[in-house]
Structure formats: structure tokens, C-alpha cells
């Protein structure tokens, strides 16, 4: 057979990108960037994203503010994004980098599934995300493009929701109850623990209760962190994952959760 066709398929999307565009043109998780004068070391201030388990799966909420320094760039940013039919990624940090990584991961997962005729395993998907974050480290250290996501998924084999959070080097931590990222996540961490001790685990709450708690936490984050937008102008983003897939909360459900 002629070399016009690629003879074997690894299902690895990076292989395809380097074959098609040459390695320098790939999405470049891992491309070092020139250091820009005056840029602070690592600037991850831009958001609050929260994931909590509830009894049928996982809920994700996020504010909608995108900032550059002290400027509010955008107040309708979408930071809870589907990677596949059972996986959500909630992004914090560099917006441009995050969106590119999401595009990259979506293609990576689908390319594998379509070419190999079987879905990528959950561990395989997690490894892809860890690698992207780790490869981004050189750029992050130079002050550009640091991003930290929270990944939520419904594990269809184990029939349970799962939440993973990350450090800047790609270190991955699975959480039993909740995960949060972004500049507003620090100030509210104690509040998560308070809820766990006084109201019981998130994973036993029903959907409405868990949504109400997470939206309250998001509002507290918006009060305490300038880079997190409140719900007064635009409703926060809110989605949930069950065995049946990803669903949007309706505006009415979100308003009810906010006590309006």
C-alpha cells in the first residue's frame, strides 16, 4: 500500500498533529513562551469554579467573570465546558489557554474513540489532562497561560460521580465531596468544611439542595474575591452530570437556588 495512507493508527491525537502540521505547529501544550517584561510570575486570578457530588452525580457551577489585571474583560464567560457526554471541565486561570486545552482534549478523546472504535478509558482521559497541565508548566512559570481545572465525570462503570482537582504541575487529586479552583476558591474553602460538618455530605444531598449550597458558596466567593463575578447581572453557569449524561440547570432552577 502506498504511503498516501497512514498505515497504523495509535489513536494518539498529538501524533496526527505533528504529522499534519509538524511538531512546532501543534497546540503546544508545552511550548515555552518568551518572557514578557513586567508580567507577574504566575497570575491565575480569574474565577471561581466549584464541583460537588450529589446523590445522583456531580454538579458544576461557575461565575461568569473574566478579568485581565484589574479590568473586567467579559461578564458572560462560559467556564463549565463538556469534554464528552459524561465529562465536564471547569476552567480557571488563563482563559485563552483553557479554551485551547478544552478544544485539544475534546479532539483527543473523540479521535481516540473514533479511530480505535472504543472510548478512551477514564484513566486515559485523566492522564491526558495531567500531561497537558504538566506540559504547560514552563509557560506558567514565565507568567503566561497558567490554568487549573476541576474535572468532573460520571464513571459509568462504577456508577458514581467523580471529581478531580489539580496543582500547577499536573498533580491530580480525587476528592470525595467537592473540588474548587480559581482565586475565589481559597476564601471559601472553610465554608465547604463547615457545610460538611453541620449539614452532612454533599454526596447525600438531593440536586436542589446541593445546587442551593454551591450557589451560596459561589456568591460568598464573589463577595470576597474581586476576580469572581456575582449573580446580580448574569446568572452563574450551572450544569450537572448523571448516568444519563450532561444536563443544564434551567434559569428558573438557578434563580430558585439563589433564593430569588
Amino acid at each position: 500500500m502506498s504511503t498516501l495512507f497512514n498505515v497504523e493508527s495509535t489513536g494518539r491525537f498529538t501524533d496526527l498533529l505533528s504529522r499534519e502540521f509538524g511538531s512546532a505547529a501543534t497546540s503546544g501544550p508545552g511550548q515555552p513562551m518568551p518572557r514578557a517584561a513586567g508580567v507577574p510570575d504566575i497570575d491565575t486570578h480569574s474565577t471561581t469554579v466549584i464541583a460537588v457530588k450529589y446523590k445522583d452525580g456531580v454538579i458544576n457551577v461557575a461565575d461568569r467573570r473574566a478579568t485581565a489585571g484589574y479590568t473586567v474583560m467579559y461578564d458572560q464567560a462560559e467556564k463549565v465546558l463538556p469534554l464528552d457526554d459524561h465529562t465536564l471541565i471547569s476552567i480557571s486561570g488563563s482563559f485563552a489557554k483553557s479554551v485551547e486545552v478544552v478544544r485539544y482534549l475534546r479532539h483527543t478523546f473523540k479521535y481516540f474513540e473514533r479511530s480505535q472504535l472504543q472510548p478512551m478509558s477514564l484513566d486515559g482521559k485523566l492522564m491526558e489532562l495531567q500531561r497537558v497541565i504538566a506540559n504547560n508548566m514552563p509557560a506558567a512559570l514565565q507568567g503566561i497561560g497558567a490554568f487549573i481545572p476541576v474535572l468532573s465525570t460520571f464513571d459509568t462503570e462504577g456508577n458514581t460521580g467523580r471529581i478531580y482537582f489539580y496543582d500547577a504541575m499536573g498533580g491530580q487529586f480525587e476528592t470525595a465531596e467537592y473540588g474548587a479552583a480559581g482565586s475565589g476558591s481559597g476564601p471559601i474553602r472553610g465554608a465547604f468544611e463547615y457545610i460538611l460538618r453541620t449539614k452532612g455530605p454533599f454526596r447525600e444531598m438531593d440536586r436542589t439542595t446541593a445546587l442551593k449550597e454551591t450557589l451560596t458558596l459561589l456568591e460568598i466567593a464573589a463577595d470576597l474575591d474581586t476576580a469572581t463575578g456575582g449573580a446580580s447581572k448574569h446568572l452563574p453557569a450551572a450544569k450537572y452530570i448523571t448516568a444519563a449524561g450532561i444536563h443544564d440547570f434551567t434559569d428558573d432552577e438557578i434563580r430558585a437556588g439563589l433564593g430569588r
Binding site: 502506498s2 495512507f5 497512514n6 498533529l17 463538556p82 473523540k110 473514533r114
Partner: protein
């Protein structure tokens, strides 16, 4: 040194056509059609999978040598994903994919007398935003492709394809069929095509339309189902909230149409 004349070239093209057509003849026909909720590709098969997702709004099926089909499938998936990632999923269209990527590659191999040609005849189906924008393209081992509206078929012989097309068109004449009706019509059209190919191998096949009665076709399909063939049907759904528009129909969804043959 031996010379290579136009006569040799002609001869070699004819020989490879015969070789490929002879091997394609065995293939199980494939039917693609637009239905009310999207696009359907249906075939009956024994062991190998035959209906494949290529990209967000693209699927493919084929008859031919399985490893050749695999190569075309992979080339299509590669081209679609590279384009969709570097530009936009909206820029991945069946026209661009087949006309400018896959067809030229196949043609080049076909025209090279020292290369092994691909034993392949396939259908690419692209789901449009509206049914009028659905695109069905059939592609052959020599790089020839053609655009079809509403439905398309491939089979081991041009005559079988003609008969299938005629039945399919009459079965889906009353506007866009529902999924059930599209599945039933496609299974029937498959039976028409497959039966023609098997009959053509026999000496008594003078009257081509003989044996095309409804009872004959139904018995023919029922025989295949009994012998372990089963229906594989992939759909691209127009209005879904899922990330993937492509899925294979399950047994429950096929059950209604199959009941007619299992009684």
C-alpha cells in the same frame, strides 16, 4: 528493456478493474437515507463492523477488503480531525474531505500499475443543519465519486445498485420517513440488492427482475437473519443535546422492523 505501451496501460487498468469488481461483488450492500430526525446508514453483516463515525457530522460505510476500508476510514478520520482542530468543525465537510483528500489519494494508487489498488466502494454521509443540506457521497476504488440527494446505495454491481435505488425511492416517496419506516425500507432495499448479486452468480439469471417479488425478498432477508446475519444501523441525529450525534441503533429500536422477518 521492455517497453510499456498505451495498450499495456489499458490492459492493466482492465485487469485491475476485473480483479476489484470480482472481489467487491461479495460485499454486503449498504443503504444510506435521510429520515425525519437525521441520517441513517444501514447494512446487514456477519462478523466485521461496517458503519463508522468519522467526525461530528460525518459517518461512513463501505464494501470491500476490510483492511482497505480501514485505511480509507483512518485517512478520513485523520483529515477531519486535523482540519476540525486547526480551523473549525464547521469547515469539515464531506465535499472537501472526499473531493480533495480521499479521492485523489485513491486515484493515485489506482493509476499506479505497480501499486496494489484499494478494494473499496463506500458511502460518506454528512448531516446538514437542515435535511436539504444533508450530503451523501459515494466513492469508488478508482477515485470516482458522486453526490446523491435523499438517499444513496452501494452494492457489488451497478445493476443491484439500480434496483435498490428504485425500491428505496418508491418506499420513501411520501416525504421524509420516520426512523422506523426508514429502517424498514433500508432493510428491504438491502434484500433487493443482495439477492440480485447472489442470483447473478447463477446461470438461470436471464430475467433480472425475476425473483424480485415482495415474498421472495422477505424470505431472502429472513433466511439471512436466521443464518446469523444481523442489522447494523448507524444514525447521525439532527436535534440532540449529546456531545456525539452518531450512535448505533440498539436491538429495541430495530426490533419493530425485524419482527416482519422473524415471524
Amino acid at each position: 528493456m521492455p517497453s510499456y505501451s498505451p495498450y499495456d496501460w489499458n490492459e492493466s487498468i482492465q485487469q485491475r478493474n476485473e480483479y476489484i469488481e470480482d472481489r467487491l461483488k461479495e460485499g454486503s450492500p449498504v443503504v444510506a437515507t435521510t429520515y425525519a430526525g437525521g441520517l441513517l446508514i444501514l447494512t446487514l453483516r456477519q462478523t466485521q463492523r461496517k458503519v463508522y463515525e468519522i467526525y461530528d457530522r460525518l459517518m461512513m460505510s463501505a464494501v470491500g477488503n476490510h483492511s482497505d476500508v480501514e485505511q480509507v476510514r483512518m485517512a478520513a478520520i485523520d483529515a477531519a480531525h486535523a482540519e476540525g482542530f486547526s480551523r473549525s468543525p464547521d469547515d469539515v465537510t464531506v465535499t472537501r474531505l472526499v473531493s480533495f483528500r480521499i479521492s485523489p489519494a485513491i486515484k493515485k494508487i489506482y493509476s499506479d500499475p505497480f501499486a496494489q489498488p484499494v478494494v473499496y466502494r463506500g458511502i460518506f454521509a454528512e448531516l446538514g443543519k437542515t435535511p436539504e443540506k444533508d450530503a451523501l457521497v459515494t466513492l469508488s476504488y478508482d477515485g470516482e465519486f458522486s453526490n446523491n440527494v435523499g438517499s444513496a446505495v452501494i452494492a457489488g454491481s451497478a445493476y443491484a445498485e439500480d434496483r435498490m435505488r428504485e425500491h428505496l425511492t418508491s418506499l420513501t416517496a411520501d416525504g421524509l420517513p420516520a426512523l422506523d419506516a426508514a429502517v424498514a425500507a433500508s432493510i428491504y432495499a438491502w434484500g433487493v440488492g443482495k439477492k440480485h448479486i447472489e442470483t447473478a452468480d447463477r446461470a438461470d439469471a436471464d430475467d433480472a427482475e425475476q425473483g424480485e417479488g415482495e415474498a421472495d425478498i422477505k424470505a431472502f432477508i429472513a433466511d439471512h437473519l436466521k443464518a446469523g446475519w444481523f442489522v447494523e444501523a448507524g444514525v447521525l441525529e439532527r436535534n440532540v443535546n449529546r456531545e456525539s450525534r452518531f450512535r448505533l441503533l440498539n436491538e429495541t429500536e430495530l426490533g419493530g422492523s425485524l419482527a416482519a422477518y422473524t415471524a
